[in-house]
Every structure is written in C-alpha cells, then in structure tokens.
Amino acid sequence: MQNIYLDNAATSRMRKEVLDAMIPFFTEEYGNPSSIHAMSRTPRAAVKKARKQIADCINADPSEIFFTSGGTESDNWALISGMEMLEKKGKHIIISSIEHHAVLETSYYLERRGFRVTRVGTDSGGIIKMDELEKAIGPDTVMISVMTANNEIGSIQPVAAIGKLARERGIIFHTDAVQAFGHIPLDVKSMNIDMLSASGHKFGGPKGVGFLFVRKGIKLPPFMHGGEQEEGRRAGTTNVPGVVGMGLAAELACKNMEAANKRLIMLRDHLIDRVLKEIPYSRLNGDRKKRLPSNADFSFEFIEGESMLMSLGMKGICVSTGSACASGSLDPSHVLLGIGLPHEIAHGSIRITIPEETTMEQIDYAADCLKQTVETMRSLSPLYDDFLKKQKA
C-alpha cells in the first residue's frame, strides 16, 4: 500500500535539486566558511548566495538574515533576547492565544523571568482580534509577536495591519512565519515586520536549519554565545549544506508560489467542499478564505481524532490531529479551544495539509477514506447513539 502524505505542515519533502545543491558541501567543499584559507572560499560564497536568495523572498537586505538551527531557535532568540534588549524600556509583550508552542512556551518562560505577557484571543475563524490587540497595548509594551499563519488551522493573520500598528506605537513586531514563508507572499518592508522566523524544512528545504530576519537598526543581542559567526549575532559553525539547501528551496518556493498556490487552493477547496457536503456533523476549522492554500482542518462530531488517525493510517493516509489523546495530555490543542470549540468537538479534529505534488485522485481517495472512517468510528460511538436517540425523541 502506498502512503498518501497529507501532513505537509509537519514537514515537507526536500526537492531533488535542493539535495543535489547540498551534496558538494558535505564532500568536496566541506571547508568552514569562517576559515581564511582557500577551502573556505566556495562555502563562504555559497552561504552569501543563500542569504541573498532568502532576503529576496521577503524584500529584505541580505545583512538582515541570520541563520539558525530552525524555527524554534529563531522564535526563542527573537522573544528572549528581544525582551532582554528592551527590558529597560518596558517589560510587556503581547502575543496571540494561538501561537505555536515555540512562542507560547517561550512566553511562559518570560513570565517566570518577570516579564508580563498578554495573550490576545481570536475570532471563531482563528484571526486575532485587532481591537483587543490595540487595547492590550500599554506604556510598557515593547514587543508584539503574532504568527503569520497558524500551523494547525491555517488561518492567516492580518500581519500588515499589526505591523502598521506596532510601528506607529514604536513597538517591535516579530512574526513566526514558519508556516507562511515560501507559501504566501511576504514583504517585511510594506508589512512593517521587524523580526521574522522561518524554518527550512517547511518549504522543501532541509531540517535543522532556519533563519531569523532582524531589521537593520535593531541591535538584537546574541542568543547563542560563542564565535563571531553571523556578524557576531549567532555563534556556531555555519551549517553550510543546510543553508545552501534552504536558500535554493526558498528561491524555488517563491518562484513557483503563484502557480503552486492556484493548484493547491483548487485541491483544498475540492476537499473542503466534499467533506462538508458528504460528511454530516463536520465543520471546517479556521477562516474559509484567509487560510493557507494547503490547509484543511476539520472537526467531526461524536468521534475522537487519534482513532480516526489510526484508521486513516491503515488506509495509507498520513494526517495529524489536535486531539489530546495523540499527545498524552488531557486537553485538546490550545488553538482549537482558542477558536471556541468545546472539548468534545476539538477532540475529533483532523488536520490535512497538502503537498504540492498531490493529485486530484489522491484528494478524492482521501475524502472517500475520511468518509468511511468517520462512519466506522461513529458506529462505535456511544455519543452518536445518544445523539440519534435524542433526535428521534
């Protein structure tokens, strides 16, 4: 049985040409770009090129791109070092209630360190409430961090509006763009973004590499201490193959973005239409329009996500769930609860994120499997029995 991978938000397939571009930097051109001998030249030039490839994708200057080990490090760096830098000015940071754990957990850490955090809620479509965000700003607010697009329900946040507000108030604006970079157009200048995190493997690059964009003029202190790499801002030997792969993947993703998205939206909307039409008591989580082209996140009443996942897995469908049972905790995902879903409905959620190479046949097969699985799981469910009995009565 062939697996159909529909979990692209977890990680994406690396392109063949990306791998090909990386290989020489493991084998022949393995020199350290920080060295000063001949073997450092080609790697140094390659890293420089990658920096420009990435900067070009978001209308930044190459000197504003700092390579890291991934999205989590970038988020930790931006928030922790950023708040340390701004501490004298104020100790308040505002984030959204549906941030990725890399930001959310860091915000709890900041609280333990004596900073004040406000977590602003979203509407039922998972879009941050701008009026509440504005109201949360106080005289000691020094940073706002709101994700560009949500990793679970795919809702795209009004980043330009937040950037404008933050700039007017003299507040640093960071955005976790891990799910958005390489997938939707981003412009750090027109959107007034001060810092932006991204991760290589989410857009066809390798794992273990990411970057943080830091706008010129912001003297963000280092998070990783040590050598003078990355202009003394991020210590540690440069991951040359990773950086090279990420640079090329970024260029390719941005070049193909329009065409890829047109197709993805067609596949996604076909899936959404079929599920909502053919499976009763189902709902789409996240805004219908303001959502990532590849994301379809559903809740099915009366059933639980992990068992759905297992049942789909047996049919070769690889997806993920926001149910608690999948993570070992008691509560379902904070994102699903954040958009107002009751626990029992949040438990029955499935996230489908579509890779570019997916065919319409595969989407139809997935929709058929989903339908079967929901029926099977409902035939086991005492909640569904109770519901049917109540309806009859």
């Binding site: 009366f302 059933i303 639980e304 992990e306 068992s307 297992m310 049942s311 897995g313 047996m314 149910s323 608690a324 049972c325 999948a326 070992g328 008691l330 379902p332 626990h343 029992e344 438990h347 035939s379 086991l380 469910s381 005492p382 909640l383 569904y384 029995d385």
Partner: protein, 142 residues
Amino acid sequence: MYDGEYSDKVIDHFTNPRNVGEIENPSGVGTVGNAKCGDIMRIFLDIDENGIIRDCKFKTFGCGAAVASSSMATEMVKGKSVQEAMEITNKAVMEALDGLPVVKIHCSLLAEEAIHAALWDYCQKSGITIDGLQKPKADIND
C-alpha cells in the same frame, strides 16, 4: 500516539473490534469517562439466572487504545460469573493486549470501571450484591 507504539493485539482489536453494539433490555449497562477528556466507554451485559454473563457489547468514543481495551474487556467477561467479571483488573486487560503505552494506561482503567459500572447497574436492578463492588465513581453524567 505514534504508529508502532501499539502492540499487534491492540491494532487487531482496534481494526476488528469484537462485540461492538448494544444489548436491548440489558441486565446491566455502565457508562464511564467523559467527552471532555476524550474517552467514553459504555458496556452492556446480558446475565443469565445463574449470574453467568451470556453476552457483552460495547460502544466507545476515544482513541485506539480505548477501543481496543473495550473490545478486549468484553471478550474477557463473556462466559464469566459476575464475581469473576468483577475481579478483572485493568492490568489483566493490559496484559491481554500485550501492553499499552504508558500514556494509555488510563484506557484500560476505563475498561475496568465500565465493567464495574455495568455490574453495579445489574446489582441495582436485580437486588444482588457482588463482593467488593462499589458504586462507580466516574460517570458520563457527573
């Protein structure tokens, strides 16, 4: 939960659950767990005049381990006396499934509680007492 962390027995009982369904006019029925936590188990018992469990069926809302634990528990109580059924522990259910991942142990506990709840209902209806059986603590209506 990750693929591969479940034993073959768990996968088997999840894929082909035994004794799914309801019993009309059951001798006892018990429902435990709650939807908020993501697990609800309902067990129906058909008990003959000698106190032997003739039939047992279940319905479960929950993860793969919850479904497999219910399925295994129903297999284990069939043909047993109510006293024997009363003594089936979550550990026994787990062992019969060749183990469960640590975070899923509560699913086997739910199976034990569901059996107890159904037996309690049977005792209430028939005026019989079973040694060691206590009023179920977890209930869907709590």
